[in-house]
Symmetry: C2
Subunit: 658 residues, 2 copies
């Protein structure tokens, strides 16, 4: 799946997390003003408004959840956002990215204006226009991270408008008793076979970092749902596609507090967490709603709380005195989770072999079914989701993107049952899908054409592939940030004036989030280290015509240089569409790389296909991983010397034979 | 000249400006404690110390000037820093970058510890170790920019140590009457032939930006010396190598205040500035020392002051109430200056033709003199400085770097009369020099070998050249930040595990600074736009053996793509050392690029050499710009097919001839 906005604009603070989001709450949960601000029948919550009585205030709403997400108190941990709404007394606007524009246009009535960007700076400028000096802007501090809060603060800095946290979530008030119940499904322990180390080892590692830090923090606060899930080897089902659960953790040097609905823990999970009680490895289970109060009490002592500002809610941050804070962009747990150990790497590799089998089955099925006109985007998505339902699978890792023809130009398009385009041999088709397996999360995009592509389609596809190859085979020094190398994925496109508007890759988890921060190629990602997994996914989109994306997941590994430089090992194992590759554009090195990659696919996926007795798929794989001839490379054919030699030679040979 | 530390480490705040810096003030101007903290004979300024009486405070000193620089009040505008000193009651440490390590080791006695980094984070960590909680750290706020101040603040955030501005500069107190007098040379107007537009046009442009800004600022405050010099088309001699002068500017929507020693202005300059008096284009000349008081008074009104936080001193910032500030990283003047208009571009191009003549004369002279053993680093530097003393020249643009053999491994080494290595046909030689011309500032590095280079030297040189070429010929979209493309200058080195530890380029002025922010490839540079000039200067350094750098200045221009993408036009016009190029490593595209560049050199420098009747140099240029044969390219020779064809062909030919 493509990450957010392009990193080329320096002040973009890309805040990516999951790909789910439901806009409909905006209609269903906000007061039906109307008609279109002309009338006076507002149904705003009664009583004194936290934004003051001047009538000039506003409330700023931050979204990022889905139907059934508990929007209020006890609040969800901040999980990144895809959309922001601002409501004033006489205006309302929604900011969201391209994947939701069509949906927003359909679902927003004339009370709302749609803003086609998500940049905080542009939201700030809108607010400066919409409200006069002296007004307050109110936010629910549990729906904004510290960094996001600070970005708004920065955008309004010195303008005479004030950001105010409000404890009462206004959307909750509007929900009233219509609000869906909180999540209640079981929270369970991952079997040891699927974890890289025990939760006790992970806790010990974090505590060691605390001891070695010059500031000697006494506690680490975890607000990100992935952080707690990873630390305790626990999983849940609270968020579609992401096996996490509502929780907070306060890990101190002597105790461990896990804030969660205890009743939802499986017996085995509870036993695992309580095995070390009493003692420093005893997990004290506390009520989810008590996190803030507990933290406030803890912060009264002689303590230093270490936290990551990208993933901690401003609401928790606010109860810790400044001098007792140790702030980094990411908590030590986020960073530890990002570097997979040898076992976690093997688990992720194994998941990708199984995932490749499903995708290869899908590609073969499409080859047979599309010419018969029997597949549409929606049934295609259903089919690949079904094919993944094998060993260890726990469903897709995000809503499958299945886009034919012009629909693929919308980078995040997902079909619905009602609007679904038929796949055809006359159009390109883009499939961006992934699976959650107990051993790993996958994410892969392939673009295909079963008929005769146009020259532009073929050239664009080939250049996207060249970008994928150039970044995948790059050798780079340790401590290199992704953002300084991601242009290698763009150069082949740039050369002819083409580009794409999203990021080039994102981290990925072991049965966790499909977008796992802080790994990737964006400006707020950390430097690449051996053991990190990231997607590599350049693309090209032509409005109203077609869309191309080629995405693989790659592991950062040591390169074969004398000094310990790094490079990538691609762990996605599915060949590219030969029908769309113009070999004459590729360099010799690019063709050699492709052939080596295809050998790896054969060696790793071939045996698994045979084990599953998928003979037709096995033959398909052999056909589609045939080595490409080196003689077709761009530089060879372009070499005048070579061409001259060749024709001279054939003339000579003809002469000899004559 | 190479910019500062590598941009690969994400939190490096590179603060680059000029290359001059004198360490000796540390010895000469600080109290002679001693011996080595054992004794009690400290000569710290008497009286109540601003850092408190606890005996645990410290003072933080920021350097960046040179001998004769007025270190205290009225303070110099902030001009970036190369070095920082911290003095506590019982410790003293100096942080500086690699070019000053040797000098520092020689000149610092055992009272001082030398820290081989300039990262504020490491200074912060040292402070946290050296002083207990509760202590104050005092700084002269006129020697730190807002951003630098905030970085220190961030580094000490929540640690219980407090940053305190002190009005009294302690180094000044130690200087006493030994302090050199302030600058007194003439400040003059640039002739219209050498300016891109009149100062009135520039002022009108900035005022237009003020009007169009959503925050409607009423004034722009200029603290950077280049900003005022550029805005008014004035130049001075206060800083060696940089034709600027001590000054501040407050440009409001109705008035213009220039804070400068009025007596130093030439009659023509004064006349030009006062021509529009009274009126909105009248420049009011005010005392340099009154800037702060004036600004404080102005800030009491209903005003908004627009400033850039990278170049404004914290001392001025502090007198403006928060709600009256409009802060950007760079002032609108810095950004306007960065984009050269058509006339400024032509001026810079012309300066580079003249500069190429001097460098070509130098290279020819070296070819003849070095084998005779008659040149050392120092006499070489003197010779190139002398050769530049032609039309419009106003001296070198920085202290010439002239480094032979292992000395070139120190990226910023400059020879002195006392320690100067003899140039030899057995060693590589690196020359990094530049000139100040009335029409432009130049900066160029060439590396040479007049004998037989080792295979490693040749490969490393060729890979540095490949990096220079790959970045120079890159095509990229508008709004691309330099930091996301600078890796193209490194890839050829990275491929074999090599790299360099400095940035890849920096902006450059029209008869202004040789390092002109905010253009370049570092993390705090602004996106590249057509009309910007930047150096492109990859290198490779092998400790104790040799150093390579290949530096050109390039103009950002529109590319020949259908959409308005950008690329570079190299305006430095001196060929590379053919003796060091291994053609078999270059791709066909790289050789084609080189040949086209050499054609440009011939077309632009050849006529100028002829005009100056430099016949020998003209012949040297022709020899050194001969097109390279395409058949030698890496990809051609590496193609097995080609090699096989070639040997088969020769066998056949032999057979035919037999």
């Amino acid at each position: 799946t493509p990450p957010g906005p392009s990193p080329c604009v320096p002040w973009v603070l890309a805040m990516l997390e999951s790909v789910y989001f439901l806009l409909s709450w905006v209609r269903s949960s906000l007061p039906p003003w109307g008609p279109c601000w002309g009338g006076s029948s507002t149904r705003l919550p009664a009583g004194p408004h936290p934004w003051g009585s001047s009538g000039q205030g506003m409330v700023l709403l931050h979204t990022g959840g889905q139907a059934g997400d508990p929007w209020g108190s006890p609040p969800a941990a901040w999980r990144g956002g895809r959309s922001t709404a601002v409501v004033t007394w006489d205006k309302a606007a929604l900011w969201t990215d391209s994947r939701y524009w069509t949906q927003a246009e359909r679902q927003l009535d004339c009370n709302w204006e749609l803003q086609r960007t998500t940049w905080i700076k542009s939201i700030g400028l809108w607010i400066l226009e919409a409200v006069p000096v002296g007004a307050n802007i109110s936010l629910d501090p549990f729906l904004f991270s510290i960094d996001t809060w600070n970005s708004y603060s920065q955008a309004l800095h010195g303008s005479g408008r004030t950001l105010l946290p409000i404890e009462t979530n206004l959307v909750d008030q509007v929900w009233g008793d219509q609000r869906p119940p909180p999540a209640s499904s079981e929270i369970y322990s991952l079997p040891a076979a699927f974890t890289g180390s025990s939760w006790q080892e992970k806790v010990a590692g974090i505590r060691q970092q605390m001891e070695q830090h010059v500031r000697r923090p006494t506690a680490v606060l975890l607000s990100g749902l992935e952080e707690t899930a990873w630390l305790f080897n626990l999983r849940g089902n609270d968020i579609p596609y992401n096996p996490v659960f509502y929780s907070y953790t306060l890990l101190t040097n002597t105790s461990i507090s896990l804030f969660v609905d205890e009743m939802r823990l499986s017996a085995a999970a509870r036993q695992s967490l309580r095995a070390g009680c009493p003692g420093p490895l005893c997990v004290e289970l506390q009520e989810y709603g008590q996190a803030r109060a507990h933290l406030r009490r803890y912060a009264q002592g002689n303590v230093t709380v270490w936290l990551g500002t990208e993933y901690t809610t401003y609401g928790l941050y606010g109860v810790i005195p400044q001098e007792k804070l140790l702030e980094d962009s990411y908590s030590p747990v986020m960073l530890a989770k990002a570097v997979k150990n040898a076992k976690e790497q093997e688990l992720l590799r194994a998941a990708h072999v199984r995932d490749a089998v499903a995708v290869i089955q899908y590609l073969l099925w499409l080859e047979k079914m599309v010419p018969q006109g029997q597949v549409d985007e929606f049934s295609g998505a259903q089919h690949i989701d079904m094919l993944r339902q094998s060993e260890h699978n726990r469903g897709p890792s995000f809503q499958s993107i299945s886009a034919s023809g012009l629909n693929a130009a919308l980078a995040h398009y997902s079909p619905s049952n009602r609007s679904s385009r038929k796949l055809s041999v006359d159009e390109m088709y883009l499939s961006d899908t992934g699976g959650q397996y107990l051993d790993g999360t996958t994410d892969i995009t392939r673009t295909m054409h079963w008929g005769v592509p146009t020259p532009l389609q073929k050239e664009a596809y080939t250049r996207v592939l060249m970008g994928n190859i150039d970044l995948s085979r790059l050798i780079f020094p340790p401590n290199t940030a992704g953002r300084v190398v991601e242009s290698f994925a763009r150069r082949a496109l740039w050369n002819v004036g083409l580009n794409y508007g999203h990021g080039t890759g994102h981290g990925i988890g072991n049965f966790l989030s499909v977008h796992e921060w802080p790994v990737g190629f964006q400006s707020n990602n950390v430097p690449l280290m051996a053991g990190m997994f990231t997607s590599i996914e350049p693309g090209y989109y032509r409005d109203g015509e077609f869309g191309i994306r080629i995405e693989d997941v790659a592991l950062v590994v040591e390169a074969q240089t004398k000094v310990p430089f790094l490079t990538f090992e691609v762990v996605s194992l599915v060949p590219y569409d030969r029908n769309l590759i113009d070999l004459s554009l590729l360099s010799l090195e690019q063709i050699r790389y492709l052939n080596a990659y295809y050998e790896t696919i054969r060696a790793r996926v071939g045996p698994e296909l045979q084990r599953q007795r998928l003979e037709e798929e096995y033959r398909w794989l052999q056909r589609n991983t045939e080595p490409f001839p080196l003689g077709s490379a761009a530089t060879a054919t372009a070499t005048l010397g070579t061409l001259a030699l060749a024709s001279l030679l054939s003339a000579l040979l003809a002469g000899l034979q004559a």
